[in-house]
């Protein structure tokens, strides 16, 4: 096993009690706590407008919260030094590349900012991902621009990679290739990755941990394997369901009232629980978790 993945030292990033509201609006982040450990690949899940982009921008120090602290590689995110900056790769939702540059010019420009730069990787990805290095960026397709933005973020071999909907305009083959590249980063460098997307199947593959965002907080973060094995959906009369959950020692995550005194409860069982046959509990998928927890 890759030694990077086992080295859990200090967190790569840590947000504590972070609150952020835009002028005149309600709080988007509300007392949010979040921790990313080295080598973790975390899928960030939330409905549209839940504040995922705001959270990622706050994590990167691009937005200053009204309250709370944001640390990245042990430094305040708002004022990182050059060494910390060089360890971060970011693919924003809308990549703002310089339209009049060619891909080659763009990469040469960014290269000058970073002490480490893997030119072989950058060139390899350009040719594998079918980007003409001498064409002006304005002339590239949306998918090609997105891939170029990914290459830009990977070329300096970051220790933290933040991806905000990076695959929206990639076709399935392009997405698969990108996911393979992510896995290879994790294998080679033990990179910490945060990945927000609505394409759940992509997250299921590469993200070991899932973070569910709701109400301005990370409502739950856990390894997906554990959630699929421990979370069940119970339904029945409210009293029966409550008694059953108590007997099982289950921790309820989401409760929905149904007509006629019935309810549906999503609950997490203690690890290794074996349900007696006939227990009215349904297994769940990642999509079910997304629907209930975000």
């Amino acid at each position: 096993m890759n030694p990077h993945l086992l080295a859990t030292t200090s967190p790569t990033a840590e947000l504590a009690d972070v609150t952020l509201a835009y002028t005149g609006g309600a709080a988007v982040l509300q007392g949010l706590d979040w921790q990313l450990l080295p080598g973790q690949v975390v899928g960030l899940l939330g409905r549209n407008g839940a504040g995922k982009t705001t959270l990622l921008e706050t994590l990167l120090g691009l937005r200053e919260p009204q309250a709370g602290s944001v640390q990245i590689f042990g430094q305040p995110a708002a004022r990182p030094d050059d060494a910390v900056r060089a360890r971060i790769g970011y693919v924003p939702q809308q990549s703002d590349l310089f339209d009049s540059f060619t891909a080659t010019q763009l990469l040469a420009y960014f290269r000058s900012f970073y002490p480490r730069w893997n030119e072989t990787k950058a060139q390899g990805l350009l040719s594998r991902w079918d980007i003409n290095p001498h064409q002006r960026i304005a002339k590239l397709s949306g998918g090609q621009q997105q891939r170029l933005s990914i290459i830009r973020a990977l070329a300096h071999e970051p220790d933290l990679l933040v991806l905000d909907e990076p695959v929206a305009s990639l076709d399935p083959a392009g997405r698969r290739d990108f996911l393979g590249e992510l896995v290879s980063q994790v294998l080679e460098r033990g990179t910490t990755v945060v990945f927000s997307t609505h394409i759940l199947s992509d997250l299921e593959r590469v993200a070991f941990h899932m973070a569910f965002m709701s109400g301005g907080r990370i409502a739950l973060q856990a390894p997906l394997d554990e959630l699929l094995e421990e979370v069940r959906q119970f339904s029945g009369s409210a009293a029966e369901v409550q008694a059953l959950l108590q007997r099982l020692g289950a921790h309820s995550l989401k409760r929905t009232s149904l007509p006629a005194g019935r309810e549906r409860v999503l609950a997490r069982l203690p690890p290794g629980t074996r349900l007696p046959p006939g227990t009215p509990a349904e297994v769940v998928t990642l999509e079910d978790l997304f629907m209930e927890l975000t």
């Binding site: 993945l5 690949v41 996911l179 393979g180 896995v183 590469v206 394997d225 990642l286």
Partner: protein, 132 residues
């Protein structure tokens, strides 16, 4: 890497990916399609091939090792353990199918389908796969 192991995974399932991999190897060993001494792909190879987090693969391999299906060798590829020389008898292979059928039976009862209808469907599905 050859396609000997024919690993594949299904996303959107209630079964975690590591579990799918474990069950896949159990079935292929039980049927004798892979046997004692066959080397399995490294964590790295399989993670890249399936675009899956390497920890998911190593979790599956560790479980298979604990079950005695795979053996780990220092500095070498893991391989199928020596006691798995040939296919298991049909009776024990059938046992591997039981959990899936128990689930299917529970769903059939929920749907209140008559037994012959369900049996016919299963039989048709088996035939479909054969003609492929």
């Amino acid at each position: 890497m050859d396609d000997h192991f024919a690993f594949s995974i299904q996303t959107g399932s209630a079964a975690p990916i590591y579990r799918q991999l474990v069950e896949h190897v159990r079935r292929r060993v039980a049927s004798g399609q892979i046997k004692a001494g066959d080397e399995i792909p490294s964590v790295r190879e399989l993670a890249l091939q399936l675009a899956v987090h390497p920890m998911t693969i190593s979790k599956a391999y560790s479980l298979l090792e604990a079950e005695g299906l795979l053996e780990r060798r220092r500095g070498l590829a893991m391989r199928v353990a020596p006691q798995h020389q040939r296919a298991q008898p049909a009776a024990s292979r059938l046992e591997l199918l039981r959990p899936a059928l128990v689930r299917a039976a529970a769903e059939a009862r929920q749907l209140q389908l008559p037994k012959p209808t369900v049996m016919k469907l299963f039989s048709d599905i088996l035939d479909e796969d054969e003609s492929r």
